[in-house]
Symmetry: C2
Subunit: 66 residues, 2 copies
DNA sequence: CTTGAATAACAATTCAAT
DNA sequence: ATTGAATTGTTATTCAAG
């Protein structure tokens, strides 16, 4: 419904936390009161052109490319 | 065995083609005479810190982040 | 046009071997 | 330390629906 608001939240979340998977991102969103499934996260990530990168920690995380 | 040489080839290949999957990358390498499986490609991608991005074509492709 | 459930497709890791 | 086969985990897409 509020795709834009959700996508802004996604960007905010990936800046704030090391989010390893789309399921984890879904969890954060759900806890923020935004009901969402992995399928839609996948589509948001595509639209936002996010990528999964190797973090300094050695783990993968979602990030925006510059 | 020749990990470095292979990884250089990987970088070369992703610059030259829009490579969508690790299997596809494995195919290119195998055709270059470098025997390799998806498991190792995954490790190479991790070491090289490559990412899967949405290409201008609208498809996903592997890329180096600047 | 946007979404979720289910599934297919793909990628990361384990485990054994070298 | 590096790798492949098999497996597990994760993500993209399909398909139906609103």
């Amino acid at each position: 419904m509020k795709k834009y608001a959700r996508q802004r939240k996604v960007l905010e979340l990936i800046e704030s936390y090391e989010i390893e998977t789309q399921e984890e991102l879904a969890d954060y969103l759900n806890k923020s009161g935004i009901e969402i499934t992995q399928a839609t996260i996948s589509r948001d990530i595509k639209e936002l052109r996010l990528v999964k990168v190797l973090a300094k920690s050695g783990k993968y995380k979602y990030a925006a490319i510059e």
